[in-house]
Symmetry: C2
Subunit: 268 residues, 2 copies
Amino acid sequence: MHPFDTATLLELQPDGRFRGHTHPAYANMVGPFGGTTAACLLQATMQHHAHIGEPVALTVNFAAGLADGEFLIEARALRTNRSTQHWALELTQGGEVAASATAVFALRRETWSTPEAAPPANLPAADTLTRAPLIGRPAWTQRFDMRFVRGGLPETFDEQNQPDSVTQVWVRDEPPRVLDFVALAALCDSFFPRIFVRRRKVAPIGTVTLTTYFHADAAMLRAQGARHVLGTARAMNFRNGYFDQTAEVWSDDWQLLASSHQLVYYRE
Amino acid sequence: MHPFDTATLLELQPDGRFRGHTHPAYANMVGPFGGTTAACLLQATMQHHAHIGEPVALTVNFAAGLADGEFLIEARALRTNRSTQHWALELTQGGEVAASATAVFALRRETWSTPEAAPPANLPAADTLTRAPLIGRPAWTQRFDMRFVRGGLPETFDEQNQPDSVTQVWVRDEPPRVLDFVALAALCDSFFPRIFVRRRKVAPIGTVTLTTYFHADAAMLRAQGARHVLGTARAMNFRNGYFDQTAEVWSDDWQLLASSHQLVYYRE
């Protein structure tokens, strides 16, 4: 069993909630990697007997640092329409809310469609780059194969401010795993904190809220398979304790699979 | 009293919920303008006796079209930390959820800060442009003074696809009103549907989820006063019934006040 599937394994409880458990393979500096938490919240909805269609949007609010160990997720369908369904979720530990989420699921129909954002151009292929070693980084970073084109984690945090925080990275699960919505939800949180890239300085940080829009359907994710996707991330603004991050995840044939936004607390 | 203040007036009920009422001045094609709904959800948190600090993030999920008339909002503080507070909100009509929301409030501290996104350059000043007439459009559009630099609502929907959906617009409340968080939450939803701009064709649409990050604090908004702010909006992708929109709101001295993202259902 892939460690990601173990980390996102949920067990339905008699009261309708789902029980999960943090996994040491996805440990962060303190507690678990937030991407896995986001993935578990989406997983609860995907596993809920009442869900319809596929996810189109997920917002996760990290209300408190998760402790290593068990957690419970309650998923409530707030409203089910003809083609959309709205969910509210709460993840608790010891009776206290550690994360909340909302999700929108939808039955898509074929319509006029067109891309607008341009994919990154003139990038070296993933197999021409080497995997970032990330020695001494938290365990979860080892669960991704990251090949940075630009804006990787600095080798030394020399506090030399950079002109921007832009990252371009080929990334896939490690070991390889066929992409699905739950894995994509986690991958959208796999970009290192923009302030590390911009300042080349480590600062205490924590994502407070993360929103992901799924542009792809399940078939597009299956077609991508276990190959690297291209992720881009950048901040727009750092101000008085909070910065934002906008990320894009592109298939290797340059379709936009997801766009993702987060707001991150920082201290220094 | 400014019509926006009437439209976002909430009355505390004995059970702790807030009662509001849609306002004809902010009517949309059917039901109220979604921006006012988002503003009411934020307003409920701002008015809640337990709130701390100022909003940094708001996600609103439009679960069903609101009917004209009364609604109730329940705001629950999920978790209060030293400097952040997480909220969950539900807006109901006739006992059914019409919208849900999550909000993050924070006590900001002064830290190292820097912008990263570049503001739009070489724009004509608001007072050199004329207000878009928007005759025959829903009532809410008259509650904004919009001066389009680029990407306005087409005068004729001639179904000539455009190369992009980018809009740049000077916008303020009409009549003028000093900017605050609640008004900014509404303004972030005032951009016309990207598909109208891109296709020059009217299609049935509805925002399903809207996330706004507030980069500004209250003092910055007060300093902006009632003058026009510069809004930009664009889509990244239109695919099988859903498109996204990313928007920025800049002060007239080029500070990023808010960034906002939404996912919109469309049919054709």
